[in-house]
């Protein structure tokens, strides 16, 4: 569950963004083109991404800029599946692509074998390292000071809500009023669950799709999550974590969760039939929502909107990096491609398609991000870029330990499912999670 999959969704619409990009003039577009060394030999570069990264049209564009390069792109649904894929190929010593996307949740697993990735400083990283917000660059730097990845997006979280369902429940529908309803800058989870209870009372329907994403958000907001900053585990006996768990479990058992299957959502239908009315939305999730609604046959009229508020304060979920494994036969060209994909224009274009909020500072204020695009029209013309920029303030990078993604998906994932499906109450599910933790992480 942890991140993951940003749906492929609206890839076809990327064309619009690409045109917009060309129209805005590519004023500083030369930077990536100039760094390519040998531009005559025909080369095929393979790229593996996951979720919805919105790169499809950027690949085409890059191929046009570099006629000798062919890009062979593979996309994997979820970050978890991408991790297994990477791990198997890493172990096999073959099969890794030239450019491998790495999710924040398993970055520390990657860092354990960081010598298997090229130090991008040797391929021009030092010239561009001011692009990123400093903490993103720091995350991608290993213990020896090697830069092994270029940051792509970050995942500041806002609240998606369905204005039609809200109207039916007598709740406000305007996104500023909704933000205020949930408490604005001081929004808490208690507020969120209280409004959920009102909604449930008024409509008889669930408030959120399933509890897993809520839990992700709760944990990601903490200063220290599953690990302390010194690298030690921080789950068993963590009263703060357990209190949040209890809070979530009681809300869920009162019927606020629709117990949907995350990443499936009944092939998207649950997004269009009022099964739930709020949804945890990091930037990249906006592309997922759109993809789900579209696949169920819905469109912008399905009522989804995006509010500048998030219970419990600023939160970040996910975000990724582009790395160049040492298995690559063309590290220079691969690094150039990664640099291109993470430059301000590219990031802005990808945002317009997939909602992946850029970690590149220049892109955050790019008109393509702050203005309207294919995605913002889908969300009732919400200024999604501006909202996400606001949501990104105060986000702190939480230390992710080596088994962070395992804890998220295999320890708390099953426990969440237990409370969602009513198989267990909060305390039982917590104990089950601790048992799993001991089995999978502590005594592995």
């Amino acid at each position: 569950m942890k991140i993951s999959r940003r749906t492929k969704g609206a890839a076809a619409l990327a064309g619009v963004a690409a045109f917009a990009l060309l129209a805005t003039g590519c004023s500083s577009g030369g930077s990536s083109a100039s760094s390519t060394g040998n531009s005559t030999d025909p080369i095929t570069l393979s790229v593996t991404t996951f979720g919805t990264m919105g790169y499809d049209d950027l690949y085409k564009q890059y191929e046009q800029l570099h006629p000798n390069i062919t890009i062979n792109a593979t996309n994997i649904d979820t970050g978890d599946n991408a991790k297994t894929d990477w791990q198997t190929k890493e172990a096999a010593g073959a099969g890794l692509p030239d450019v491998q996307a790495v999710e924040e949740g398993w970055l520390s697993a990657v860092m354990q074998v960081s010598d298997q990735f090229n130090d991008l400083s040797q391929y021009g990283a030092n010239d561009i390292k001011d692009r990123w917000v400093p903490w993103k660059l720091a995350q991608a730097t290993d213990a020896k000071g090697r830069i092994i990845g270029y940051g792509s997006d970050i995942g500041p979280e806002g609240l998606c809500y369905n204005s039609k369902d809200f109207a039916a429940a007598g709740l406000p529908t305007d996104r500023d009023q909704v933000a205020a309803l949930f408490g604005g800058d001081n929004a808490t989870w208690a507020d969120y669950f209280k409004i959920g209870a009102q909604y449930k009372a008024a409509t008889g329907k669930a408030f959120y799709d399933q509890s897993g994403f809520i839990w992700n958000a709760m944990v990601n907001q903490l200063k220290e999550g599953y690990y302390k900053t010194d690298g030690s585990l921080n789950v068993d006996g963590n009263a703060q974590l357990e209190a949040l768990w209890t809070q979530l479990a009681s809300a869920t058992s009162s019927g606020l969760s629709a117990n949907q299957t995350a990443w499936d959502w009944g092939k998207g239908k649950a997004f269009t039939d009022g099964s739930f009315s709020t949804f945890v939305c990091p930037g990249w999730m906006l592309g997922v929502v759109k993809g789900q609604v579209t696949s169920a046959g819905g469109d912008a009229t399905s009522g989804w909107d995006f509010a500048n508020v998030f219970p419990g304060g600023a939160a970040n979920w996910g975000g990724s990096f582009l790395t160049v494994p040492t298995q690559s036969k063309h590290p220079q060209e691969a690094a150039d491609l990664a640099a291109f994909l993470t430059n301000a224009q590219s990031q802005a274009a990808a945002f317009g398609v997939a909602g992946t909020f850029p970690s590149v500072t220049a892109a955050q204020t790019d008109p393509a991000v702050t203005g309207t695009n294919a995605l913002s029209t889908f969300f009732n013309n919400a200024p999604i870029g501006t909202i996400l920029a606001a949501r990104a303030k105060n986000v702190v990078a939480q230390y992710k330990g080596p088994d962070d993604s395992v804890i998220q998906s295999q320890v708390f994932g099953p426990a969440i499912q237990e409370i969602d499906s009513g198989k267990a109450d909060g305390p039982t599910a917590w104990n089950d999670a601790i048992t799993l933790l001991n089995q999978l992480v502590v005594n592995k």
Partner: protein
């Protein structure tokens, strides 16, 4: 292993050189070398390759299982049988065995019943025999991956085809992907769909091998069609049925594709609480997700032993049933049948053929 080999009658050496000649001409020596060495050359490729890619890895699995061994960082020291000890006390291991056996039972039993039914229907004097026989085999050409993709969509909990139907008839939707028993039923359904027709043909062949005259004499004795089916057809195909079961066992104990692809959205392979995580899927998870080659090898070896055990068990049961039958028949018609069955024991090897053919196949 339990195999009885009755060697073929000795064959006279094809070209015995006259004993009077003291010197063997070169051509003869070459010929003799040809005769002596050729058989070894013919079997050598099999034994060499089989040793390299079949037996050596199995043996080496045991070596790995005695070590701490990480997927990415390699061997990390000898630990003796500790990996076995750890797995034998690991609830996930037992859970995987339980799931495997449960899915196996849910697939073997209904599969056998329906296959017998299909075979019985096909065994009649129907028109267009070949067409109908081929028609029951169609699911067999759909690969397990494709079968799983098709069925996993139909078994979706929310808005899946099957739950939609249930709800249409005002029944409660079934949690096919997150509850233990329903998920086993769903996976067994995929296995059954693909294999029932195949097994029906094996049983059909066994039914057809029953000589028609014993049916005729039974009919003369006044036994009706249903009576004939239960008192004659069923007993006479019992050995084949056992082989079908064993086939299903050897394949079923290694089931991987269906649980692996059944619900790709869960981060835990085999269901959120490992509801349908089978042993081979557990092995895969252990080796390639949790990076523990040592423990995964221990699991592989234990599974290996279990499969061999099942095989031996089957042989013993199969022989016993066959011989009891030969002894205990009393009725006139049954006697004919018994005589026929005693001959049939010879055919166990053939049953084994069918068995291994399918087992080979099922390993996906």
């Amino acid at each position: 292993m339990t195999a009885t080999l009755t060697p073929p009658q000795e064959q006279k050496p094809a070209a015995a050189a006259p004993a009077t000649k003291p010197k063997v001409p070169f051509k003869h020596r070459l010929n003799r070398f040809d005769v002596k060495a050729s058989p070894y050359f013919y079997i050598a490729p099999f034994f060499i390759l089989f040793g390299l890619v079949g037996l050596f890895p199995l043996g080496y699995t045991f070596v790995v299982s005695l070590n701490k061994w990480n997927l990415l960082t390699g061997p990390g020291g000898f630990v003796g049988l500790a990996n076995y000890g750890a797995e034998l006390t690991d609830p996930f291991f037992w859970n995987s065995l339980f799931n495997t056996v449960s899915i196996f039972l849910l697939s073997a039993i209904p599969q056998l019943v329906i296959a017998v039914l299909i075979a019985a229907v096909l065994d009649q004097n129907i028109r267009n025999k070949t067409f109908w026989r081929m028609s029951v085999l169609i699911p067999y050409v759909v690969t397990p991956v494709a079968v799983t993709l098709i069925f996993s969509s139909a078994f979706d909990e929310k808005y899946g085809a099957i739950n939609n139907l249930l709800q249409f008839f005002h029944l409660n939707p079934v949690m096919w992907k997150t509850e233990t028993f329903p998920s086993h039923v769903a996976i067994a359904t995929m296995v059954n769909w693909r294999w029932t027709g195949y097994n029906a043909l094996i049983l059909l062949a066994a039914m057809q091998a029953v000589p028609r005259d014993i049916y005729e004499s039974a009919a003369l004795d006044g036994a009706g069609a249903i009576r004939r089916f239960f008192s004659m057809t069923l007993p006479s195909i019992r050995p084949t049925m056992i082989f079908v079961i064993v086939t299903a066992t050897v394949g079923g104990l290694q089931i991987f594709t269906e649980p692996k692809l059944f619900n790709p959205t869960t981060a835990t392979p085999g269901g959120p609480q490992r509801q349908y995580q089978t042993t081979v899927l557990y092995l895969w998870d252990l080796a390639f997700n949790r990076q523990n080659f040592g423990k995964a090898s221990a699991v592989a070896w234990m599974l290996f032993l279990i499969i061999v055990l099942f095989g031996v068990l089957n042989f013993v049961i199969g022989r016993r049933i066959a011989s009891t039958e030969a002894r205990s028949s009393k009725r006139k018609t049954a006697k004919v049948l018994a005589a026929y069955n005693t001959q049939k024991i010879d055919n166990e090897a053939a049953g084994a053929l069918a068995l291994t053919a399918a087992a080979e196949e099922k390993r996906s």
